[in-house]
Assembly symmetry: D2
Homo-oligomer: 341 residues x 4
């Protein structure tokens, strides 16, 4: 069986593993105060052209999201996001457990607009009986594989600034977004058009790890307290620094992401050739074809895909994912199977 | 100006005020451990025919809702309710501040169904990445003035029992619901078909106060700790006991509610006579006519109503409320104004 | 039996009751936005000579404390207080339930010093593994009946300002403190030497109610959201305004408190005459004599006192309280009983 | 400079690193549902002779502590522990951020007794104004290096069972405790005398990771929800399984811990030979000598130790730690330096 169901099936990219092995016996201070974290933070600031940003390294995405959002909001504030947003549906209410309401807006292809944000703020009307929007959360790429354009993100950022909200970009799959041929923004432009974002390592070559990049000085203040309190301060913080050093050095992060996206687009084209539709068009490493039950069964003989849910009596939506670890051989065998449907 | 915008405009029913005056110099133990609270609890158990229920008295509705829900749920559980549910829209995220997600379902006329609850549980699928529904919250009467029928409430209760959820009926306006001519259930039947409910005093003749009636023994255990921790334990708890004694003695609670509903239905009929539509049909003390801007302006000259929101370019939805304190003269003057539209 | 065990045994002062009766049928907007609350706030600003302070009215003390503290602190900050502080021992962990650690310091006669605060901050050392002190909580009068002097409070305030902490004075018994013959500060001086304080009504003549006076502009921002979210926004907020109007008009608040303190000091002197010691010297309305078991039993025949705890094999500490409702006759009968020991 | 300041200075034991490298390209399901986690759980159940226990793997200690404690307690319950307990002093109020008070008891050499627990419960007296103790937290070895004896732990467990509390053993350094020559209990006996414990990997040979072993069925129910909500569910959960497999296979965990303890005791003896006292006697891998300022400065030339705090004007307490990574050469050079003092 070949697994193509998600992008965290294997360990880490060989270059990351090598770096971990090479440094294993080094003695380093704990809690992210080591030279590797310092160097990785420098590389991230350079890559995203934000020399004044604070950079912290956390282990996982839910942890990063909860830490950022609960540190940013006043007790009565909530976070606006698309109904499909990861924080709204797949984090077991972690944001609410930190005391804040997730204010879900109907999305289009996993995205929300500046107009929706402005309307939500207008409707709340500074009425103290209603949760006040304090932050906007978007994912890049989104949970359904789509991308914000530079214009869309810029409009969101302008609106947020105008209305006094912070804009947070969840970059669990940021590499796959920025390396996608269809993406129209650079890393620097992404960073410029939000207040805080994450650079996901777990799904893009690392064993684990999300870098948190904070451009808003007020949010950066005493953020290490927030990390520690939320259980996100890794004793051997070096492990995060070492991995992000390896990924950011010479653009490895975007190289491996770009390769995975190209593989995913080959798979997409094979589905298209078969006349198979998608839940929505995705230009990134996640593809969501709508299969007949017979097609799903046929592919399921040799491949593990992720079931998204039933579409109608005879059809089911599936997820196919590529990653740094997907080999060309896997892709070719899968495409062969698609063609045989 | 005559205010008809809500049902908590005046102090309390004269009989309640008299009881407070008569007992003012009595010495009583604090924190609800006095004979008045004991007697009021007995009267409520009798009225609702639930001799084994635990009865507690809290000051306000948001407080009661948060205390009940946070005492009932495990940390990863959420509460299902209609999108229009008070806990979802008008409590500044109090439930989320206690750590729990409000799982909003699209309502019909402010109500949700047993089928929707069953479907929500099925969709969650005991997947630990998704908040688990642990309780169902309904309001009686609802936030838009409607009523659950005995069959609807019974179906919700059966489904909840089957799926291991608790059913909570927010009775902030329970009097107006049970005393409405259109209501098909008795107080005893209401109590029988849920696990916990409140009997609202604030809007039905008291200065303040909500009685919490708990039929589920597990939820009743150490509930006084929950009240104290959430700031709901009134030092002079006697004030709650004295008020509910006055209201429950000889059915005063339902008498004054019934009278207010009859007044509201007269107002409703006046609107109907003018061909004025409603956001939804309400058989209780709150009426929600859809007025033209000109009509709203005309009525606004002598009466304060509550604006609910714009319906379209030329129309606005308003709330008209009656209460124990609404006089027949007010009603007649208002009906006169409606007829003059 | 005559109860002298606490200062919330009766309803409210006759003047307060009269005001409630007189205004009962008035129609007023809800949630504290009525003219009575506005007027009461004005009277409090005048009484405490703080024209720019924000004044809000909440129902109870635990509610007020939790709302203030959780609105003031960042998530990783805690509140310093004496080990005997009400928030540390008698609020069922309400502060912790809002997410914040109570940082208890050993008190002397229920009080903490500026030096202790400075030392606590020094020891924390801005180490992100340790809760950061963000606020200091003191009670006036304290839980054991003692008073801060103007010099002590001023030193605390100076130290707080220097170190970036807020100073919060819990005034659940503020009347009894400021009206005590032994108090060396005026209401204006109290207000001047802290950032936020409460004026307790529950124990000083009201049915219920605590006024929150906020001098720190950052804490005042959107405080009504905090009140609503924590369940402290009374629908008929007028009830709080009306009561505080009655208490603040013509200094009634301090008159009734002063009278109660004088009664308590007569009781104190009776104990002293009998050679009975106290847990600590109290110049206010609460007295804490240490009785032999035989003495406690003798007094217990006609009077209810509050047992504080066993001191040694043969002695027990008790609390005797006076209030606005304590009559001279009660005091004389009690003194008679003490003399008969 | 040789670092001896803590036990998480290096990466991981070579056997652990080898296992990670060997399995790197395996495809595994995420979130701890892989065969490695299953096998590691089996090995832990065998090692601790608790065949019915639930075993989960989390990344870090603060995360594990918060997840366990907040899943175990009702909202109004707190956790008893020694004043020096990690949860009380070094986790930035993480337990309080989850809503629960840490009820600190004065410890003796970092330990609390069954008698103290019983007395705390007696004092609380099921009074709903006071936080109810719901769990006891002890560390093994403690934060100051000491050990509970089998009799002490058994007495705590008996008392907890009798009073309805859960007993939680924080085993961040469990290896060093159980492998210490002075320890009088087996792994099976440790497991038998508590309701839940952790097996620390971070400080005993792993890159990171704490195994949570739950013997109490009620606490085990839906514990994976708690892990996910608190941000502790590692996407590539396999990494935890693989590491604990390597550590538990053939007793490696206890071998490397035992060796480190023997090294620490050699260092202890060198201090004793110099007449240098300790803050308390430690039979494990952490030693806490009290040095003169001159001694601290002399050792500080070649070695990094951890400063614990000033003891008096001329003395300072320091921590010296060994771990799986401490070489005999480091120990000999350090002993040489101690002898030269």
């Amino acid at each position: 069986m070949i697994r193509l169901n998600c992008d965290y099936l294997e360990g880490c990219h060989p270059a990351v593993l090598r770096a971990l092995c090479d440094t294993n016996l080094e003695q380093n201070p704990g809690y992210g105060l080591d030279p590797h974290c310092e160097n990785a933070a420098r590389l991230i600031r350079e890559t995203f052209a934000c020399p004044d940003a604070a950079v912290h390294f956390l282990v996982g995405g839910t942890q990063a999201n909860t830490t950022i959002i609960s540190a940013a909001l006043r007790p009565w504030e909530g976070v606006l996001c698309a109904e499909t947003g990861h924080i709204n549906v797949h984090e077991t209410g972690a944001i609410e457990a930190s005391g804040h309401k997730v204010l879900a807006l109907p999305g289009r292809e996993g995205k929300i607009t500046a107009e929706q944000v402005a309307e939500a703020v207008r409707l709340q009307g500074d009425d103290e009986h209603v949760v006040r929007p304090g932050m906007v959360y978007v994912s890049m790429s989104t949970e359904v594989g789509t991308l914000y354009s530079l214009r869309e993100l810029g409009a969101l950022h302008d609106t947020c600034r105008e209305l006094g909200l912070l804009l947070f970009v969840d970059g669990a799959r940021l590499g796959y977004a920025l390396a996608a041929p269809g993406c129209d923004m650079t890393p620097a432009q992404l960073a410029e058009h939000c207040d805080v974002f994450t650079v996901g390592g777990t799904k893009v070559g690392a064993l684990f790890g999300e870098a948190v990049v904070i451009r808003c000085p007020a949010l950066a203040t005493r953020f290490r307290y927030a990390i520690k309190q939320r259980g996100g301060m890794l004793a051997k913080g070096r492990l995060l620094g070492i991995q992000f050093e390896a990924l950011m050095e010479n653009g490895l992060y975007f190289d491996i992401a770009g390769r995975a996206v190209r593989q995913a687009l080959r798979i997409r084209d094979a589905f298209i050739d078969q006349g198979i539709p998608f839940t929505c068009p995705s230009p990134t490493n996640q593809q969501f074809p709508i299969l007949t039950d017979a097609q799903a069964e046929a592919l399921g003989r040799d491949f593990v895909l992720e079931r998204q849910g039933r579409v109608d009596a005879g059809h089911v939506a599936m997820r196919v994912c590529t990653s740094w670890a997907t080999t060309d051989e896997m892709v070719e065998r899968f495409i062969g199977a698609v063609r045989a449907l």
